[in-house]
């Protein structure tokens, strides 16, 4: 039972880290110190955490412009991420990528990707590597409902089926592609149903329910790992914030947002479930809340104090050799 407890606490710590990270950026962004665009993952934490729980460092994920959650779930260093978001030289990408391009190949994080529909072709490439090299590696593509309409996504699903690649397509349906509702933009009945049409097993799950995502992901990832080909999962969970920070969200009603915090918060749902069980107490979780808060505090402090890249860095790392 001790290991069950630890697993639950780990999952909570990950989810809470993502939430705290995003909430803090939401605040810090108003200071003007964070350059450019940030897109927050708050509300969808259960999905990234439940999926990545089944992955090893040697497995790969591809992410989206809303990639902080995936990065933390896959094990990227929080200090490095924060420094990157602040555009600092000690950031995970040396300050050259920023929020939309956080990557850490050693952790199997192939990069946040600022092109909607950009990652599925790359992720099937990572799966191809595993297949050609004969490893049991798995690659997972995280896409939104918006990217689910892109041709690149369709092409990737088809090729993954044709070549029987060890890949899982996770479609995070958060209700909106930018400012347009998914009910409007996705022509099919559901993203899962459409994925099924490509010839791969696909299910739709409640993305606010960590345990539901965990079970679906386990099955799909196991299928990939054992050479049984690709799968798709549509996980539904609304985002708490706008498309980008500063988005006035005029396309959403005030009631939707209020209700979302009350009934659609994956962290609350998780807490309610585990606190009702035997292993985990409220105190355990509260303690994690405190620890996570201090981790994020120090990450922000360090990122603000870190140095920017120098002019010399402008010209480096365009090529390996030129």
């Amino acid at each position: 039972m001790g290991s069950d407890k630890n697993k639950l606490l780990d999952a909570y710590r990950r989810m809470k880290s993502i939430r705290e990270f995003e909430e803090r950026i939401h605040v810090e962004n108003t200071t003007g110190e964070i350059p450019g665009f940030v897109h927050l993952y708050a509300g969808q934490e259960a999905i990234a955490t439940a999926v990545c729980k089944h992955l090893k460092d040697s497995d790969y994920i591809g992410s989206t412009h809303r990639g902080h959650g995936h990065s933390i779930a896959k094990g990227c260093d929080i200090n490095g991420m924060m420094a990157e978001i602040y555009g600092k030289k000690n950031g995970l990408c040396a300050g050259k990528g920023g929020s939309m391009h956080i990557a850490d190949f050693e952790k199997g994080m192939l990069g946040a990707n600022a092109i909607v529909g950009g990652n599925p072709p790359l992720v099937i490439g990572a799966a191809l590597t595993a297949k050609v090299q004969g490893t049991d590696g798995v690659a997972v593509s995280f896409s939104g409902d918006g990217a689910s309409n892109q041709g690149t996504t369709f092409e990737s699903m088809n090729m993954a089926v044709v070549l029987q690649l060890p890949v899982v397509f996770i479609f995070e349906n958060n209700g909106y592609g930018e400012g347009t509702g998914c009910d409007y933009a996705v022509g099919a009945e559901s993203i899962a149903q459409r994925a099924e049409g490509f010839g791969l097993p696909a299910v739709q799950v409640d993305g606010t329910d960590f345990f539901a995502v965990e079970a679906a992901a386990k099955e799909a990832i196991n299928r990939a790992r054992t050479g049984q080909g690709p799968s798709a999962i549509e996980a539904v969970a609304m985002r708490f914030y706008g498309h980008f920070e500063g988005d006035p969200q005029a396309y959403r009603s005030a009631e939707e947002l209020t209700q979302l915090r009350e009934t659609g918060d994956c962290l609350k749902i998780f807490r309610d479930k585990v606190e009702a069980g035997k292993h985990v107490t409220k105190a355990d979780l509260d303690q994690i809340d405190q620890e996570v808060k201090s981790v994020i505090d120090s990450a922000v402090k360090a990122a603000r104090e870190a140095d920017f890249p120098t002019k010399d860095d402008l010209l480096t790392d365009v090529y390996v050799s030129y």
């Binding site: 790969y60 072709p121 990572a126 590597t129 090729m159 790392d317």
Partner: protein, 334 residues
């Protein structure tokens, strides 16, 4: 030494590199051909026969026939490259870049810089270029100028079989994304090619012909047009130096500038584009860095600013010819 065509030289390079390194794979449309049909596997061996026979030696796990799905091909190659393979993705015609450009210029080209120097993307995209086969506007372009302008990509365009083999081997061994442009009209062009493996470094121009009156810089098939013009001009007593940069990114600026310093006159022959193409690029380079040695205007010989036409007389008029090059030189010397 054995005479080999460009097609044979490229096949040589692919085969030798696949033997040398198990991580080298080929993927694309009909790189073998025949899967799911009622005939034979390796029915095509590449749309123009370059990959013929490779599936027999290396199997379908490394010579991968894909659906007609260019974005997935390019993206898969980039993703595979970033995770440990050395993929060679084949894109039947460069014109089809239109349906997969994102995966090349936003993804593969940007990884290393955008991710702070932590990645390597050792992929090669082999593609065909060039007008002259009566294949009209969507199967005849060169487009290498567009890729040359994207930092993070390397652009290679061999003009002969010796260079084709050495440059392709270099491309496969290179750790950056390389686009390898093969002119369709040159595939049967033959010259001495060693059987052994060898790599030609990028960024060193080939001085195809030495001369002292005029420098002609030409790319891919235009190198042969320039040589033909140079022969005609030689019979008139005009000595032409022909430079084949071989790679436009990286570009051997030094060889071009040194040649112009010697000759004082520059003609650029380029099939890629009349506007913002390689001719304009080289002209800009020399105008800025070699201005003091110029004795006359820089002449750019390119197709007109039109799509590639279909009808044979129109297409013939579209492609720069030796006669247009000779006329350009006469104009410069007048």
């Amino acid at each position: 030494m054995t005479q080999k065509t460009i097609r044979e030289a490229l096949n040589d390079a692919l085969r030798q590199e696949m033997r040398r390194d198990n991580n080298v794979i080929i993927l694309g449309e009909d790189v073998a051909g025949g899967h799911g049909g009622t005939g034979v596997i390796d029915a095509y061996g590449g749309p123009l026969g370059v990959t013929k026979g490779l599936i027999g030696e290396f199997g379908a796990n490394r010579v991968i026939d894909t659906p007609i799905t260019e974005s997935a091909i390019m993206g898969a190659a980039a993703g595979a490259a970033a995770t440990g393979l050395r993929p060679i993705a084949e894109l039947m015609f460069v014109d089809f870049m239109g349906v997969c450009f994102d995966q090349i210029f936003n993804q593969a080209a940007k990884f290393r810089y955008m991710f702070g120097g932590k990645t390597r993307t050792p992929m090669v995209i082999r593609t065909t270029i060039g007008a002259g086969m009566r294949t009209a506007a969507q199967h005849s372009q060169c487009l290498y100028h567009m890729f040359t302008s994207v930092p993070g990509l390397k652009c290679v365009m061999p003009s002969n079989a010796y260079d084709a083999k050495g440059l392709l081997i270099e491309a496969i061994r290179d750790d950056d994304p390389v686009i390898f442009f093969e002119n369709k009209l040159l595939y049967d062009h033959a010259c001495d090619v060693p059987d052994e493996s060898y790599a030609i470094p990028f960024g060193e121009a080939n001085v195809v012909r030495e001369g002292h009156d005029i420098t002609i810089v030409a790319f891919s098939r235009m190198v042969h047009i320039a040589e033909e013009a140079a022969k005609t001009l030689a019979s008139e007593g005009i000595s032409v130096e022909v430079i084949d940069p071989r790679t436009t990114s990286p570009l051997d600026e030094e060889t071009i500038l040194e040649s112009v310093e010697k000759t004082g006159r520059l003609v650029v022959v380029d099939e890629s584009a009349a506007r913002c193409g390689m001719a304009a690029d080289i002209a800009g380079l020399v105008a800025e860095k070699g201005f003091s040695s110029l004795k006359g205007p820089i002449i750019q010989i390119t197709p007109p600013h039109t799509p590639v036409p279909f009808s044979p007389p129109l297409e013939d008029a579209f492609i720069p010819s030796a006669a247009t090059v000779v006329a350009g030189v006469h104009r410069l010397l007048k």
